[in-house]
Structure formats: C-alpha cells, structure tokens
C-alpha cells in the first residue's frame, strides 16, 4: 500500500510539474462548456437537469482527452528505460500499475470537479434533482477511469506515446460511437437484432446515460468496474510477458 502511495506521488508530481495536466484540464473545461452552451442549449432549454445539456456531450470530449493524459504512463517508462529501475525495486508490478492509474484518475477527478460552476448555475436558475446530478458526475468519472484503464493497457504495448494516443483514442471512439443512437439506427437496418444487441451491450451509452439520468443502477457501476479491472490485469500480463 505504501508503494502505491510513493508511485502515486511521483506520477502526480510529474503531471503537475509539467504543463500537460493544466493544458488538458483547461481544454476539457472549454470543450465541455462549448458543447453545453451551443449544442446543449443550456440557457434556453429551461431544463434544470444537466443530463442532456452537459453530461450527454462528455463522452465525446473524454474519448480523445483521456488518452492524452494516460499515454505517457507506460510508454514513457518503456522509452526511457526506467522500467528497468522499477522492475528491480522491491515492489510489486501491481502497486506500480495502481499508483499510475490512481494518479491519472486524480487528474480527471480534478478536471471533472472543476465543472462545478455549471452545477451552481442550475441550482441558481431552477430546482434540479441534485442526486441525479451527483449520479451523473459519478458516471462521468467512471467513464474517464474506463478510458484511462484502456489507455494504460495500450501504453504497455508501445514505447511510442503518439501510437498509444492514436490507438487508445480509436478504441475509446469506437466504444462511444458503436452505441451512439444515430449509428445504432443505421446498423440495426443491416444487422440482425441479435448482433445489434451484442454491440449495444458493449458500448458506453447505455451505462453512462442511465447514470447521467440519475438512475443509479449497480449493473452500470459493475460494467465500468469490470472493464477497468480487466484492463489493469491485462496491463500487468502484458508487462510481464514483455520482459521474457
């Protein structure tokens, strides 16, 4: 546990000791606000919930920005050879993976928390269901963590950060669009219903939207958790296999 903390501190220090964390947080805040005030019609909708004005657009922002935060986690370590230091210190690989994951998740926790003015604004404009908003925020954070775990897994494969960014964004974009309604309508015409159901079961929308609407279902949380855990286990397996 202490080892996780040591790694976590180092990784977080390296995020905030460089422009990367600040840059991504600022871009995230700008993009999410732009979507909310343009496509989301935040002002005119007269809808005091954040579901369709704010949360709905988050997957599109996160699917490219989250890999940008996670891409350096293992790629940089493989490129600079520090993996050889880490690999000869008396700590488990698993605590390094957890420390790295938690540090990057903290960056996203901060980024998502900094959207709080919009929460204050809806409370000032109307009487929103604040529990539903909390549920939406939990969904947003879980989604960021899921994309992050996928990026971490991809970064274990390559020492090239750009390749990691491209591949993991592609996977996240795939996950988002595979079940995005307009697309589902398209491919449900060509595919049989079974295939369509199989694809929608894989995508994020079902699970994310139910959280964003305030329906806090255990199955959604489990869905996110299982992808995260599977990706972290995969990362550990890839790194061990790489050495031999």
């Amino acid at each position: 546990m202490k080892d996780v903390w040591t790694i976590y501190k180092r990784e977080l220090g390296s995020y905030f000791g460089q422009p990367i964390a600040y840059a991504i947080i600022v871009i995230f805040l700008l993009l999410s606000m732009v979507f909310t005030f343009t496509l989301g019609n935040f002002i005119e909708a007269g809808d005091a919930s954040l579901t369709y004005s704010f949360f709905l657009y988050l997957p599109f922002v996160l699917m490219v920005l989250v890999p940008a935060v996670g891409m350096r986690l293992w790629s940089e370590e493989l490129r600079s050879g520090t993996v050889e230091l880490i690999g000869t210190y008396p700590i488990s690989l698993w605590s390094v993976i957890l420390g790295k994951f938690k540090a990057a998740a903290t960056v996203w926790l901060i980024a998502i928390a900094l959207t709080f003015p919009i929460w204050i604004t809806v409370n000032w404009l109307g009487e929103p269901d604040n529990l539903a908003i909390i549920s939406g925020y939990i969904g947003a954070f879980l989604l960021a963590c899921t994309f992050l775990a996928i990026t971490l897994l991809v970064s274990a494969f390559t020492r090239d950060q750009v390749i990691c960014l491209i591949v993991s964004s592609a996977i996240c974009i795939g996950l988002v669009f595979a079940t995005f309604d307009p697309f589902v309508r398209q491919y449900s015409k060509t595919f049989s219903p079974e295939v369509k159901d199989a694809i929608t079961a894989l995508g994020v929308w079902d699970h994310f939207l139910s959280l964003a609407r305030g329906a806090f279902r255990l199955q959604d949380v489990l869905w996110f958790a299982s992808i995260i855990i599977a990706s972290l286990l995969g990362t550990s397996a890839i790194l061990s296999a790489k050495r031999s």
Partner: protein
C-alpha cells in the same frame, strides 16, 4: 553473496546466456568482461530480477530471485547500463523517490539521500532538473540511486561509462572501498579497471565464461602480461569469419 548456476537466457532462437555459473562472495569485486553482445547485461538483468531466466538458478544472500523476487531485490543495488532516470524530476527529488521505494522514511531517508549525493559528488546539481544534466552526471545520479539503501550486493553495468578521467578514478576507488564489505559485480570494457578495482575477473564470450581468475592469474595466462592480448585471444571477434555453427 551471489550464486548463479547454469543460468541460461534465450531470445527466440538466439542464445544470449549459455549455462553460466559463478559465485561472488562478500568482500569480492568481480569484474565482468567480454565483447559487445556477450551477454553481460542480460546476465545482470536476470540477477537483479528484471528478466526471468529461461533456466537456471540465482540466489542473492541465500534468497532465490526466481521464487522470492521481492525479498531478493531488497539486498541489491543496481545501476542499469543506460542509466535510466525520470527526466521530469530533480536529482534530489528522484533520490528521495528511490529512497522511499526502498522503504526509507524520515531522517533515515534524508541521511541516505545526502550520503549518496556526497558519495557521487552531486552537490552542485542536486537541485537541477534531470533532463538538463550532462551524461556523466546522469550516470552518477543513477549510481547514487543504487547506493541509497546500503545494499549488500551491488550490480553495476558499466559504472564508469561516460565519466571523465577524474570521475572514473573516483568510481573505481568507490567500487574498491565498497567491495571490502559488500558483494560487487560490475561490467566494463576498460581492461585497466580490472587491476584498479577487481579482486577477480571473468571474461564472457557468447554467453559463456571463457576465463576466470584474479587479475594476476589473468595476466599470467595471457603469456605477454597484457590483458588486452588475453582478451583478444579468448573472445570471438566480429571481424572474424562466421563459424559453421553460427551459419547453421
């Protein structure tokens, strides 16, 4: 104490380390010599628990690296060949991190870090960011990292690589001094270092030990009293035509 028995490492079809056996006792400094690609670094990576061996056994102070890696790694200080470092940290920041990972806290950590900075002559760059260090200082920072926890076993892959003549001298003295109380295994391409720092040396060629002995014994074996001559006699040169075994 390092005990290595029948250590073998295969990368695909390439045999990098071929049934290597040796032991290094406390108070010994073993020099690892050999041409490029002989398998020195690969052996060290296995001894430090970074690479899993294809077969063979490694024991550090009685603990098996393969069965109980974490416990074995506690005894080891390791300087990898490329002296990898976290470029986004300062020298002190990095050493503090490495000390914490070694389980040091509070004043013990502070003392260990300032001791390592002193031993490796890093005072002048202690607050400097690692990515702005010169090659020699990078190497010394990585060396400092291996000394933090006062390990019983030191494994140094080309510790004098990239150092200026003064620092080469200092590091040899350091290895000698540390070798009195510790187990030291280090590799080098500089044959004078054998006499300057080693109590014993082995020459590795194509993953096998071809010569083993004290610096005096090695000089005797060469016939001419020159280690370079011995080295050239016993190792395969890239400039020689390939043997039929390799061609197959």
């Amino acid at each position: 104490m390092i005990e290595v028995e029948n250590l073998t490492k295969r990368f695909g079809t390439k045999l990098a380390v071929d049934h290597l056996s040796f032991t290094v006792q406390k108070g010994e400094v073993l020099g690892f010599l050999g041409p490029n690609g002989a398998g020195k670094s690969t052996t060290m990576r296995m001894v430090t628990g970074f690479l899993p061996p294809t077969s063979g056994s490694i024991r550090i102070c009685g603990t098996s690296v393969i069965e109980n890696p974490t416990a074995a790694k506690r005894h080891i200080g390791y300087l990898p060949e490329s002296a990898p470092l976290y470029n986004d940290m300062t020298v002190t920041g990095f050493l503090n991190f490495a000390a914490e990972i070694r389980g040091l806290t509070g004043t013990a950590k502070k003392e260990a870090v300032s001791m390592a900075i002193e031993t490796c002559f890093l005072e002048s760059v202690a607050r400097q960011s690692i990515d702005t260090l010169s090659k020699g200082y990078r190497h010394r920072t990585c060396l400092a990292q291996s000394l933090l926890h006062d390990p019983e076993v030191l494994i140094l892959d080309e510790p004098t690589d990239g150092l200026d003549p003064n620092q080469k001298h200092e590091v040899r003295q350091l290895i000698r001094r540390l070798g009195e109380k510790k187990v030291v295994l280090f590799s080098t391409h500089i044959l004078e270092e054998v006499e300057a720092a080693c109590t014993r040396a082995v020459i590795v060629d194509r993953g096998r030990i071809v010569v083993d002995g004290t610096p005096e014994e090695l000089k005797e074996k060469s016939g001419t009293g020159s280690l370079t001559d011995l080295f050239r006699q016993v190792t395969t040169r890239d400039t020689e035509p390939e043997t039929s075994e390799d061609a197959a």
